[in-house]
Subunit: 145 residues, 2 copies
DNA sequence: ATAGGGCTTCCACCTACTGGAAGGTCAAGA
DNA sequence: TCTTGACCTTCCAGTAGGTGGAAGCCCTAT
């Protein structure tokens, strides 16, 4: 199967599939002309990857899930542990964003939003004390989503 | 003021401050020995940036906020618009993550998590139909948080 | 004089791709 | 047979927002 075909059937862009080969998630064979030749198993793996990614699992988590996917003897406990850990991360992110949302909403509501320069949002950003920050978990911009 | 001092007072790592200079957010002068020399205004700007970033504003949004911060005549409407747009993004992300969390939680609850290979999570990831995906917004891994 | 800490620049790396250029391959139509 | 266009290849660079580390000045105290 050519990459275009696999791309269409798996829903992943061809670029992404090549990238997944680069990082070792799939190993399609090659034809004489250099074209990748995907087996049906590769298609299944890629579709699996697409679904796992769409559930927010990281590539590293996907790698582990994939090895469990290919292991007919794996225990469901191993899979559950990964999913639970991921779920915990998602829930924590939700909490952080909700606190953020509350702060922003409060600022937005208090800002009259007219032509005058007076602005509670700016006042808050300018304020050097830390009272506002109490109970507000830090955003961690280095986390990639 | 040296960078170490500014770092301590603003709470931003020195590396980050240099990076912010690189991308033009601050322009400290230089001493004869090549060391950066920060003015009090620079310190204020950096602290402002730190707070804006911790509220999840992107660097580009920060750039705009900073120009408004330095404009004594700015209208609060401009600031409010940015904050509102950001708030909307945050709220949308929360919704997406909540849908994700519900799906994951459902899978985790249904997985008995013992030594047997039978696993609803794997079954779901392996399933090639799209019923599960209904009403579940796609994660967008290219969005950085 | 030397040790240490602070400062400098520069380069690479992280995630998970995506865009684009330059060029080879293949099948269909004139 | 030639050409056109779709499809494939590799490689390089860029995205956001930094972080880590190396090599090498600078400054101060002992």
């Amino acid at each position: 199967m050519n990459i275009g075909n696999v791309s269409e059937q798996s829903g992943l862009p061809a670029k992404t599939i090549r990238y997944y080969e680069d990082i070792g998630l799939v190993q399609p064979s090659r034809r004489e002309n250099g074209y990748r030749d995907f087996a049906v198993q590769d298609l299944h793996k890629l579709a699996f990857l697409g679904r796992a990614r769409s559930l927010g699992f990281s590539i590293d988590e996907c790698r582990t899930l994939l090895s469990l996917y290919e292991d007919r003897e794996r225990s469901s406990a191993d899979v559950k542990a990964i999913a639970q850990s991921h779920l915990a991360q998602v829930d924590q992110k939700i909490e952080e964003l909700q606190a953020l949302s509350a702060t922003l909403r409060d600022l937005v509501v208090r800002c009259h939003g007219d032509d005058r320069p007076d602005c509670p949002i700016m006042d808050d950003l300018t304020r050097s004390d830390v009272r506002r920050r109490e109970n507000i978990p830090l955003e961690q911009p280095s986390e990639h989503w």
